[in-house]
């Protein structure tokens, strides 16, 4: 009887695994079907464009907590963005270091009287600064709210323009990022949010706020994350966006209609994945009211961000992401199979629940049972090898397709050596890293079920900004 039960569980794992691969192949097919249109747009974009005064002005919101090491360089980088009209609102989230002082000195900021309309929940503002060198640069200092959402909500409350672009303080945007991000708003009046691509900045060099050298990271943890980011942004998001069912826009680069953020109550402070939650809330808001809307993904809008380079920080991040993912799915469970929720409720969210939410349980069981069966003789050497080849083959297949898409469409990493490193990393990541990652996600799930609050502090390495 036990044996039958175990075999049944193995079948569940096997079917789950095939389902996951089928899901990936489905998304890859969607991406490939979407690519010709994308290539055509790229050709069109390469034509010289006449600038008019009819651009949509944008407020960039930069939450900063203890960012004295990088904040000035980050803002300098943002000031060089090629876009006709934008403002930068830095939100100093009660930093204990010299973030405020550095900003005031670098950009000759002066305090101006505070008068804002609070429409979103956040901690009180204590000071409001305006740069006397760059009229479009402002800084808001507030009492620490303990999370990024609190600071982002403050920035959105003080933003002047109707489109807001919340960023991470350590992000470096490509010069033309905003121009790409705003396009869906110009092409479709129902656009409510637009996401771009996040790339790994570790290994690159930044000078005077601009990326001067693009290379793959040499740190192994960062390298594995680069592969993950390529997978996530080159086909998972492009695929979902192709059928208008994008479930997430990264917190590192997105452009939103401010009024709609107000409508859905701003970024949630109850979750660790506020960016994911915001998109689910926007879907739910529009779907339940039968309002037309469009959430777009623009792969050519690129933002570079630093990823953790140590095992400890990466573990914290991934545990937090998993907990956040489950929190968001739980808060927006109404989306699941709701008659009004269309593809997002019947396809994307169920996919997220199965393959992102509860998958760590099945994955961990799959790994452990295979090892136990092999050691106890239930599984022959040949059988173990077959399962290993299946796992490796499907894993490589998805990553290799991603690398090919990257090479054909973007060719970001020009050095031949970098391309080979990418292939090598995608082979090595299957031996240990993926299993570790599954374990961290399992831990995140465990923390969510038992309401355990993990460590959240992260450290910035900032070596890629060292040349400045």
């Amino acid at each position: 009887m036990w044996l039958e039960l175990l075999i049944s569980l193995q079948w569940i794992c096997f079917i789950f695994f095939l389902g996951l691969v089928a899901g990936y192949i489905f998304l890859i097919c969607l991406t490939l079907a979407h690519l010709p249109g994308y290539v055509r747009k790229q050709i069109l974009d390469s034509m010289p464009q006449t600038q008019t005064d009819y651009c949509m002005p944008i407020s960039i919101v930069v939450p900063a907590y203890n960012e004295e090491a990088i904040i000035v360089n980050s803002v300098r980088s943002l000031l060089q963005i090629d876009y006709p009209e934008f403002e930068i609102v830095v939100v100093n989230d009660g930093s204990k270091d010299a973030t405020e002082q550095k900003m005031v000195e670098a950009f000759k900021m002066i305090p101006i009287p505070l008068a804002i309309q609070q429409r979103l929940p956040h901690q009180p503002i204590t000071a409001f600064f305006q740069s006397t060198v760059f009229p479009s640069l402002k800084m808001v200092t507030k009492i620490n709210g303990g999370c990024k959402s609190d600071a982002t909500n403050t920035g959105i409350d003080t933003a002047t323009y109707s489109l807001v672009c919340p960023l991470d303080a350590d992000s470096v945007m490509d010069k033309d990022c905003l121009k790409h991000l705003v396009k869906p708003y110009l092409e479709n009046p129902h656009t409510v949010a637009v996401g771009g691509s996040v790339r790994v900045a570790n290994g690159c060099q930044v000078k005077d706020g601009l990326l001067t050298d693009i290379s793959v990271p040499r740190n192994i943890w960062a390298l594995f994350q680069l592969i993950e980011y390529l997978r996530a942004f080159h086909f998972v998001r492009v695929g979902w966006a192709a059928i208008d069912a994008l479930p997430i826009i990264s917190g590192a680069v997105g452009l939103f209609k401010k009024e709609l953020i107000f409508e859905v109550g701003g970024y949630s402070q109850k979750t660790h994945a506020e960016d994911f939650e915001m998109i689910l809330k926007l879907h739910l808001y529009h779907r339940l009211r039968n309002l037309p809307y469009h959430i777009a993904n623009v792969p050519s809008a690129v933002c570079w961000t630093e990823v953790p380079e140590t095992h400890e920080y990466l573990k914290r991040q991934r545990v937090r992401w998993q907990t956040g993912c489950l929190e968001c799915l739980w808060f927006n469970k109404k989306l699941l199979f709701h008659p009004k929720c269309g593809r997002i409720g019947w396809l994307t969210v169920p996919y997220q629940v199965i393959f992102e939410g509860i998958s760590p349980i099945i994955e961990m069981f799959g790994y452990l049972s295979t090892v136990v069966f092999f050691l106890t003789g239930f599984l022959s050497y040949e059988g173990a090898l077959a399962l290993l080849i299946l796992v490796l083959g499907t894993g490589y297949l998805v990553t290799f397709i991603t690398i090919l898409i990257e090479e054909v469409l973007f060719a970001t990493y020009k050095k031949p050596k970098d391309l080979l490193i990418l292939f090598a990393a995608s082979i090595i990541e299957n031996f240990g890293y993926r299993q570790l990652h599954a374990f961290w996600r399992f831990r995140g799930l465990f923390d969510w079920v038992f309401k355990i609050e993990g460590k959240r502090e992260m450290a910035r390495i900032g070596t890629w900004q060292a040349s400045e």
Binding site: R40, I110, Q130, F373, P416, F423
Partner: protein, 357 residues
């Protein structure tokens, strides 16, 4: 020991796994080959571009007698380069570029590419034929102007204007009214490039007759037209329509300083966005007579109306920081005082940047 359940899993795992690995190996070689091929193509394209850029730039002064032949593989590269130069240079300085295209036979190539199955080639052809003013291709390009894809229709519309602006006016105006997918920015660019006298009348008439849903987006473009011609229309939109969006658009383009009372009236409108737009409008064209009205508007129950009224106050002619501080000091409402203080701060900081507030 192995049961039949496991055997099936193992059987499937072997086959699927091996198949995936074979495909991966293939993908690896395709990627490497693509990189190698791409580098070769890039080098060849770069060489071709260098050669032709020099020829095209020299041709601006004098057309060379002998021109190198353009191979089929380089035709698109040539057209892209040529279009870039045409877009960058002024029309009168780039006349010789048209001669080069005809001399190399690329005009025929462009005509043939109009019916190509590749959409990027269609786009290049439309753009090129527009610059060449090829009126023979009018009907094909007009068809593209009605294409369901925004990029096609916009490029084709611009080409029609280049070919024959007079003939293009009715087509373009109709498209501007009908095409909701054309962004205001794109429509603005078209208006700027259409230098035909009767365009303004045709456009204003079309906006007047357009449905209420599309009117606001079109009214916003009035800023690009002659204000004497738009003024009567704007006034009619503000007086005869109740639709909030139309009123908002009208206030955005209102410039008639003799009819300021009309704008002042909107400061008591029941929709706050309209009150805000009226305050912004008064800030742009208001007189010192508006100090009292705007000081009252700073009392508004809606924050954005208060803020923009305070900004409008600061922008009025002869308004100094001292006068503003006085207004703030005397203002009975605490929130209004705060908002004026903020605007004073912003104005002073902007002044330090050397800019007008």
């Amino acid at each position: 020991m192995q049961s039949s359940g496991f055997e099936t899993i193992v059987f499937l795992a072997w086959r699927i796994g091996i198949l995936c690995l074979v495909v991966c190996l293939l993908l690896f070689f395709i990627t490497i080959a693509w990189r190698y091929y791409n580098l070769k193509i890039q080098a060849r394209t770069e060489e071709f571009k260098q050669l032709w850029l020099e020829i095209l730039i020299n041709s601006l002064d004098e057309i060379p007698r002998d021109l190198p032949e353009i191979e089929k593989a380089n035709q698109n590269t040539f057209l892209v380069l040529w279009n870039h130069l045409k877009e960058t240079l002024k029309a009168e300085t780039s006349k010789n570029l048209n001669v080069i295209v005809r001399k190399t036979g690329m005009d025929f190539v462009a005509v043939s590419k109009l019916s190509s199955r590749k959409q990027d080639e269609n786009l290049l052809a439309i753009n090129t034929l527009g610059w060449l003013k090829e009126e023979n291709c009018w009907s094909e390009i007009e068809k593209f102007a009605r294409h369901k894809e925004t990029s096609f229709s916009l490029i084709a519309a611009k080409a029609l204007i280049r070919i024959n602006p007079e003939r293009a006016v009715p087509v373009i105006v109709r498209l501007m009214v009908e095409r909701e997918d054309w962004a205001t920015e794109a429509k603005a660019e078209i208006i700027r490039n259409i230098e035909v006298e009767r365009f303004e009348e045709t456009f204003l008439e079309a906006v007047w007759q357009a449905s209420d849903e599309v009117k606001p987006g079109l009214i916003k473009l009035f800023n690009l037209l002659t204000s004497e011609k738009t003024a009567p229309f704007v006034e009619k939109f503000l007086t005869e329509f109740k639709d909030t969006e139309i009123i908002l658009a009208g206030l955005l383009v209102f410039k008639d300083v003799d009819k300021l009372d009309l704008v002042r009236g909107f400061l008591s409108h029941n929709v706050w966005q309209v009150r805000m737009a009226a305050a912004v409008c008064l800030g742009n064209i208001g007189t010192k007579d508006d100090v009292k009205t705007l000081t009252q508007a700073v009392n508004d129950r809606e924050w954005w109306v208060r803020y923009h009224s305070a900004r409008a106050l600061a922008k009025l002619p002869t308004m100094t920081s001292r006068k503003l501080k006085n207004i703030a000091k005397k203002h009975p409402n605490e929130f209004s005082r705060d908002i004026i203080q903020r605007v004073i701060g912003e104005r002073e900081a902007t002044g330090l940047c050397g800019l007008n507030y």
